[in-house]
Subunit: 150 residues, 2 copies
């Protein structure tokens, strides 16, 4: 991982569909070595893949909420059961386990408030080992999935 690799990653973060030809020019390398480096970054697990970025609003997904979850005291199994069930809810687009309270922080995206209500009642409330659920509406996505600082 040298300076050139970082340049490659920075460019591909900005435009994941850059042609290797164009990428090579931007990082100041000729085609083949640039190509080899991209492959190497993919193989080594630094470059996990490429994804299209969609506009949730344009797809009718206009509602977002943060959900705070505290679990009941339990063993490793309780945690695993909760996480496994969580992963099956596609509207949960981000989830992190924290140190301390709350135990989890979820970001949920739905079409509208009523879809969220249903999701809350039918899927979130019934997740295993939950002691406490709180949710707050997102007013504005100020920064969304920013490029990693290289």
């Amino acid at each position: 991982m040298d300076r050139t690799d970082r340049k490659i990653l920075a460019e591909l973060q900005k435009d994941g569909r850059l042609s290797v030809t164009e990428l090579a020019e931007r990082v100041g390398l000729s085609l083949s070595p640039c190509h080899r480096r991209v492959r190497a970054l993919e193989e080594s697990g630094v470059l996990l893949g490429y994804r299209a970025q969609l506009n949730p609003g344009a797809l009718g997904l206009n509602f977002s909420a943060m959900v705070f979850v505290t679990l009941r005291e339990g063993d490793r199994r309780a945690v695993e059961a909760f996480e496994t069930a969580l992963i099956d809810i596609p509207q949960v687009v981000d989830a992190q386990r924290l140190f301390g309270e709350p135990d989890y922080l979820l970001q949920v995206i739905t079409q509208d408030l009523s879809a969220f209500q249903r999701l809350y009642d039918e899927s979130l409330s019934t997740l295993p080992n939950v002691q406490r659920l709180t949710s707050t509406l997102v007013m504005k996505q100020v920064i969304q999935n920013r490029l990693l600082p290289l």
Copy 2:
């Protein structure tokens, strides 16, 4: 936006570098109409772009924290000043403004605890109009930037 457009978006969310040739096969269309649809989705703002997904750990970014921010009472200017300053901190990879307390929820990524400490003291604490800052360490990223539910 019909069923075929949704299929196209689903495929491109999974693999943003799919060739139009391969994409056309997967969605059951021939090359040219598939190509036209992708362009149309880009122009219409549904498809915002394409990005490489990086592995933060493999890049030495092993530390993550959630930061809860409450602002002092203030006018629109205060909010704008805060958000403008926030956007200049590259380690803040996600930020949402909420309804109610806290006002903002930030996700911050740094190399390690000491880098976070510096960031906290030098950049986060000095953001304008902040009344209260609380932070919690992320133990595990359970779900990371999941594909949108189509």
